[in-house]
C-alpha cells in the first residue's frame, strides 16, 4: 500500500506545478498586449484626462484650472459648429457607405462572379490612394472655374458652383469624397461576413423554393446584422475622428469657408497642434469620446433589440 502511494506523492509537486502553470499560462501569453496597452493606451488616456484639467499652452508652464476648459468648451461656438458638421457628414456618409458596401459585397460574393478579384481590387483602390492625391483630384474635379463637375453641369445650363467655398456644397463634396474612399474598405468587411455564412443554408432555402431576393432578406441580412452593426460602430468612431479628408480638401484644420468643413477631429487637432492648447484639446477629446461611446451604445442596443 505504502509502495502504491509513494509514486503518487512523488508526482504531486509536479502536478501542482503543472496546475500552477496551466492557470497562469493564458495570462502570460496575453500579457504583452495588456502591457503595451497599459503603456501606450491606458496611461495616455488617463494622462489626457489630467491634462484636460490644466491650462497648458505651448512651452509655458501649465496651470491647474479644474473644469474650466470644459466650461469654456461648452460655450465655444466652434464646438457646436463642429458637432453639427460631424453629425451631418455622419448621417450623409455612413448609411450610404454601408448600403453600397453591402450591395457590392453581395454582388462580388455571387458564385459565378468571374472578375471577383479584379473588382475587389478596384473597389479597394481608393483606400490605399494617397490622401494628397485624393485632395488634388477632388480639388480639380470641383474647381469652380476649371472643374470637370462644373464643366458637365454647364452643358445642362447650371451656373458654376463654388463647391469648395459654399458651406452646403462643401459638406456634399466631403461626403462624396468619403463615399469614394471608404466604400471599398467597408465592402471588404461585408465580404468577409458574407463568406462566413454557410452555403448549406442557401441550398436549403433553394430546395424550399426561396428566390434570391427572399434569401437575401431572410438569410443574408439577419446573419449579416452583427457585421453591419460592427461596421456602423467603427464608421461612427471614424467619422467623429475624421481628420485627413477635411484637412486636405479645405486647406487645413480650420474647416474652410464658414467653418463648414470643421469636424470634431479637426477641431481637436487645431486646438492641440496649431494653437498648442493641450488642456483644451484634451477636453475636446473627452467630450468627443463621451459622444462616441453614447452613440455606440445606442447602436448596440438597437442592434441587439432587432436581433431579439
Amino acid at each position: 500500500m505504502a509502495t502504491s502511494v509513494q509514486p503518487a506523492q512523488a508526482w504531486q509537486p509536479l502536478v501542482r506545478r503543472r496546475h500552477w502553470w496551466s492557470t497562469l499560462a493564458p495570462y502570460v501569453f496575453i500579457a504583452p498586449f495588456y502591457l503595451i496597452f497599459l503603456a501606450f493606451g491606458l496611461l495616455p488616456i488617463l494622462f489626457s484626462l489630467i491634462v484636460s484639467l490644466y491650462d497648458w499652452r505651448g512651452t509655458a508652464p501649465s496651470t491647474f484650472v479644474g473644469l474650466q476648459n470644459y466650461q469654456i468648451l461648452f460655450q465655444d461656438p466652434a464646438l457646436y459648429k463642429a458637432l453639427w458638421n460631424t453629425v451631418y457628414v455622419w448621417i450623409g456618409s455612413v448609411p450610404p457607405i454601408i448600403l453600397m458596401a453591402l450591395t457590392f459585397a453581395v454582388l462580388l460574393n455571387a458564385q459565378r462572379q468571374r472578375l471577383r478579384s479584379l473588382l475587389r481590387t478596384i473597389y479597394f483602390l481608393p483606400v490605399v490612394t494617397s490622401l494628397v492625391i485624393t485632395g488634388l483630384i477632388f480639388g480639380h474635379l470641383f474647381s469652380r472655374s476649371y472643374g470637370l463637375v462644373n464643366g458637365l453641369l454647364a452643358h445642362v445650363g447650371v451656373a458654376p458652383i463654388n463647391w469648395l467655398a459654399e458651406p452646403a456644397w462643401m459638406k456634399l463634396v466631403l461626403i462624396v469624397a468619403l463615399l469614394w474612399r471608404w466604400t471599398g474598405n467597408d465592402m471588404v468587411i461585408m465580404l468577409a461576413g458574407l463568406q462566413s455564412i454557410p452555403p448549406d443554408i442557401y441550398e436549403a432555402a433553394q430546395v424550399d423554393g426561396a428566390t434570391a431576393v427572399q434569401a437575401f432578406w431572410r438569410i443574408t441580412l439577419p446573419l449579416m446584422r452583427p457585421v453591419i452593426l460592427f461596421d456602423a460602430i467603427i464608421s461612427t468612431i471614424g467619422t467623429f475622428n475624421l481628420f485627413a479628408e477635411p484637412f486636405v480638401l479645405f486647406g487645413g484644420p480650420g474647416g474652410g469657408m464658414a467653418q463648414a468643413g470643421l469636424l470634431t477631429g479637426t477641431l481637436l487637432y487645431q486646438n492641440s497642434f496649431v494653437y498648442f492648447k493641450f488642456g483644451y484639446g484634451a477636453a475636446i477629446a473627452w467630450v468627443v469620446a463621451a459622444i462616441i461611446i453614447t452613440l455606440s451604445m445606442i447602436q448596440l442596443r438597437l442592434g441587439n433589440r432587432e436581433a431579439d
Binding site: 469652380r144 476649371y146 487645413g252 469657408m257 497642434f273
Partner: protein
C-alpha cells in the same frame, strides 16, 4: 500674405513662400551671447571669430525647404573654425518642424540646436528658447527694418529673420492700361473698388480687377498696420484686442466696399487664383508680399514685363500705404548643449556670404541690409525693369516695429470666421467685429 484667399493663402501661397525662403537665417549674432546661456561656453567675439568650443559634437538644424539652404552653404566655412563639430541639417515639413520642436521642448530632450520657425508662432515657444539679446544687438544695423525687431517679445530677443516680407499690390500693367486705370489714380482702397466698375463694363464681366477671400485676414492685417496697429490684432504690449477698435471698423468698412465692388473674383479656391492670374482673368494681386514674385516667375514666366508693383492703397487719402507679412526666424532652443556654437553657425548663415547664398537659392527679399542695398540698384526685367527692391525697402522702412502676440494664429482664425460673415453681408460690420473681439478676448484671456 493673407489677403488672397484663404486656401491660396494657407496653402499654395504659404508653401511657395517657404520654398522661396530657403536658407537661412542665422547670420548674425556672433559672439558672446551664449556665454550667458550655456554652461562653460566661451564668449564669442564680435564679428564672428569666436574661439572654437572645447569639445566637439553635432549641431543639428531643423527647417523646411527654403529655410535651410543658407545653413548648408556655410557648413564648410563653419568647419574651418569648428572642425570638431559636424553639422546635421534636417529638412522637414513646415508643420513637422513646429510640432516636433514643441514636442521636444515639452519632453525635455530631442530639440535641435538651431530651428527655423514662422515668426508668427514665436510666442508659442519662448519659454524654451535662448534669449539672444546680448549676442544679437550688435547686428541690429545689419538688418533692414523691421526685420530685426520681429524676433523680439517683451524685451527679449529670440531669433534673427531669414528674410523680409513687406507687402504691396501687384498689377498687370497691360490690363490696367487697357481698361484705363492708372496707378497714380489709386490712392485708397476705395479708389480701387471704384475702378472695378470700368473693368467690369469694358470686359463685360470677363475680367476681374482683383480677387478676395472672405474668411482670410490677409487684407485686414494690411489695413491694421496702416491704421497704426503693428500687432495686427493686439495692442503693442499684447494685453488688449484691437479688432473692434473704431479705426478697424473704419478699415473693415473699406474692405467691405472692396468686397462689394463690381469687378471682384470672390472666394477663389485652390489653384484657381494662379490659373486666373495666368490667364489674364484677374488683373491685380491685392495681397502682395515680397516673396510673391517667385510665384510669378515660377508659374507665369510668359507674363514677364507685364506685372508691376505698387504700394498698397491707404484706408484714407494721404494715410500710410504699408503692409507686412511674417518672415521665418532662426531660434536656439535652451536644450541645445552647444548654444554658443549654434549661434556662430546661425550668424554665419544669415550674414555676409550666408545671406547671399540664401538669396541666390531662393530669390526672396533678404533681411541682410548690405545685400538689399546692393539689390536695390538693380531693375527687375520681370517687372518691366521696375526697381522693385527699392520699393520693398521703402515700404519696410515706413513700417513700424511689427510684433506677433500670444495667440496670434487663434485670433487669426476667429477673426477670419467673423470677417467672412461681415463681408458676405450676414452681420453688420460693427457687430461682427465686436463679436470677433469678444471671442478672441474670451479664448485668449486678453482685455
Amino acid at each position: 500674405m493673407k489677403q488672397m484667399t484663404d486656401r491660396v493663402d494657407a496653402g499654395l501661397n504659404r508653401l511657395s513662400r517657404r520654398q522661396f525662403l530657403q536658407a537661412a537665417l542665422v547670420t548674425s549674432v556672433s559672439a558672446g551671447l551664449l556665454a550667458a546661456c550655456s554652461t562653460g561656453a566661451a564668449p564669442a567675439t564680435s564679428g564672428g571669430a569666436a574661439a572654437p568650443a572645447a569639445q566637439g559634437g553635432t549641431i543639428t538644424v531643423w527647417g523646411w525647404a527654403g529655410t535651410i539652404e543658407g545653413v548648408q552653404s556655410q557648413i564648410a566655412a563653419f568647419n574651418k573654425t569648428y572642425p570638431d563639430f559636424k553639422v546635421d541639417v534636417k529638412a522637414l515639413g513646415y508643420e513637422d518642424v513646429h510640432t516636433n520642436l514643441l514636442n521636444s521642448i515639452v519632453a525635455g530632450s530631442g530639440a535641435p540646436d538651431i530651428c527655423a520657425i514662422d515668426v508668427l508662432r514665436l510666442t508659442q515657444y519662448i519659454d524654451g528658447l535662448v534669449d539672444l539679446s546680448d549676442l544679437a544687438k550688435q547686428y541690429k544695423d545689419q538688418f533692414v527694418p523691421p526685420t530685426f525687431d520681429l524676433g523680439s517679445y517683451k524685451g527679449k530677443f529670440y531669433g534673427l529673420a531669414t528674410d523680409s516680407e513687406p507687402m504691396g499690390v501687384f498689377y498687370r500693367k497691360d490690363l490696367w492700361d487697357q481698361y484705363g486705370i492708372k496707378e497714380e489714380d489709386i490712392n485708397t482702397w476705395s479708389d480701387l473698388a471704384t475702378a472695378g466698375a470700368k473693368v467690369n463694363e469694358a470686359s463685360q464681366g470677363a475680367v476681374a480687377l482683383y480677387h478676395m477671400n472672405s474668411n482670410t485676414t490677409g487684407l485686414f492685417e494690411v489695413l491694421a498696420v496702416e491704421q497704426g496697429f503693428s500687432g495686427y490684432f493686439f495692442n503693442t504690449d499684447d494685453t488688449k484686442v484691437i479688432v473692434d477698435d473704431p479705426k478697424m471698423i473704419e478699415a473693415v468698412t473699406a474692405l467691405k466696399q472692396l468686397w462689394d465692388g463690381k469687378s471682384v473674383q470672390r472666394d477663389p479656391q485652390g489653384d484657381e487664383v494662379t490659373t486666373l492670374l495666368k490667364n489674364g482673368k484677374i488683373a491685380t494681386q491685392l495681397i502682395g508680399p515680397a516673396w510673391y514674385p517667385m510665384t510669378f516667375t515660377g508659374q507665369m514666366p510668359e507674363l514677364a514685363g507685364k506685372w508691376r508693383l505698387m504700394r498698397a492703397p491707404a484706408v484714407t487719402k494721404g494715410g500710410p500705404r504699408i503692409g507686412y507679412q511674417y518672415p521665418t526666424i532662426f531660434v536656439i532652443p535652451q536644450q541645445s548643449p552647444a548654444k554658443e556654437t549654434a549661434w556662430e553657425l546661425a550668424r554665419l548663415s544669415l550674414l555676409g556670404d550666408g545671406a547671399r547664398a540664401l538669396y541666390e537659392k531662393t530669390k526672396v527679399l533678404p533681411a541682410y541690409k548690405p545685400l538689399l542695398d546692393e539689390l536695390k540698384t538693380k531693375p527687375d526685367p520681370y517687372f518691366g525693369n521696375q526697381n522693385i527692391y527699392e520699393l520693398w525697402q521703402a515700404i519696410g522702412n515706413d513700417t513700424p516695429p511689427i510684433f506677433f502676440g500670444v495667440g496670434f494664429t487663434e485670433a487669426q482664425a476667429i477673426l477670419g470666421n467673423h470677417l467672412q460673415a461681415i463681408l458676405r453681408g450676414e452681420t453688420p460690420i460693427d457687430a461682427g467685429l465686436q463679436a470677433a473681439g469678444a471671442e478672441i478676448r474670451s479664448k485668449l484671456k486678453k482685455g
